[in-house]
Amino acid sequence: MDIPYVVKLREDTNLYNAKVGIWLFLASEVMLFGALFASYILIRTGAQSWPRGDSILNVPLATFNTIVLISSSVTMVMAWASLMRRRFGTFRLYMGGTILLGGVFLVVKYFEYSHKFHDGLFPSTNNFLAIYFTLTGLHMLHVMGGMAVNAYFWGPGAKLWKTNPEWFTNRVEHAGLFWHFVDLVWIFLFPTLYLL
């Protein structure tokens, strides 16, 4: 049985079903991160003193990671644009770049975390570090999830291009929406945790 409205637009919503689905999922993600940001505000405003992020965390590494993640958003959108131009080879190149940049982000995060653990700084050390590890840890899980989806579309999932290129293009667009959301969350995490 064929899945309806994967390429054809629904008459009532004027959208593909999957696009509505991914936006509803992103709405739930906003509430998930929103709850953690609200906890952060509550703990910070309730604390007698709060350290500046740059006195504990490595700002140059985080700035580098911000540049990496923004670049990966551009390669992701260029991967989709390549499919719109019917250039599959270029899509593979850009999608490969997106996955690679996601990997770079995780490697940098590994060094950041291991440096903290080496210095005896754990989530249990204080509220600042508890919030830092929770928010960045959850964000890192999202990067891993996004990389897994992107790797699927770069590899085995790309078979769909041969049989139904429009459906494949839509799927990549939806994967891109998630990836840009992950970038968007980091855009707020970076100043909130590292610079203030």
């Binding site: 919503t13 004027n14 959208l15 696009k19 509505v20 936006w23 509803l24 709405a27 906003v30 509430m31 929103g34 709850a35 940001f37 609200a38 906890s39 505000i41 509550l42 405003t45 309730g46 740059d54 700002v59 700035t63 911000t66 540049i67 923004i70 670049s71 958003s73 551009v74 992701m76 959108v77 260029m78 644009a81 719109m84 131009r85 019917r86 891109g176 929406l177 840009h180 959301f181 970038d183 968007l184 855009i187 707020f188 970076f190 100043p191 909130t192 610079l195 203030l196």
Partner: protein, 103 residues
């Protein structure tokens, strides 16, 4: 693929590159402002303002929200409302003014 469609995608790509440059510049501005060691309320306001501009650029152009359908906007309006309530809860709890209304 028609030539009109190809030209349309080319236009999109040029916008993506422009947004990328703007995001890089704003990242540098964010870090530079944090070096000024402004008073906390000003530092928080400026950092959040720059983050909101960057976030809006990503959402508008990379996520194509600038030309999306009504249903998606409706979902986002509802999300924004509940997100604002979520963030306002700890703020009003600390303001000591919220509870007075119920006494």
């Amino acid at each position: 693929m028609t030539s009109d469609h190809a030209a349309d995608i080319d236009k999109h790509v040029r916008v993506y590159i422009t947004v990328f440059v703007a995001l890089m510049a704003l990242t540098i501005i964010t870090v530079a402002i944090s070096r000024l060691h402004l008073r906390e309320p000003i530092a928080v306001s400026v950092a959040l303002l720059v983050a909101i501009i960057k976030g809006s650029l990503v959402a508008s152009y990379f996520m194509h929200l600038i030309s999306e359908k009504k249903l998606i906007y409706a979902v986002l309006v509802l999300t924004t409302f509940f997100f604002a309530v979520l963030l306002a809860l700890p703020v009003v709890t600390h303001s000591d003014g919220f509870w007075i209304l119920f006494q």
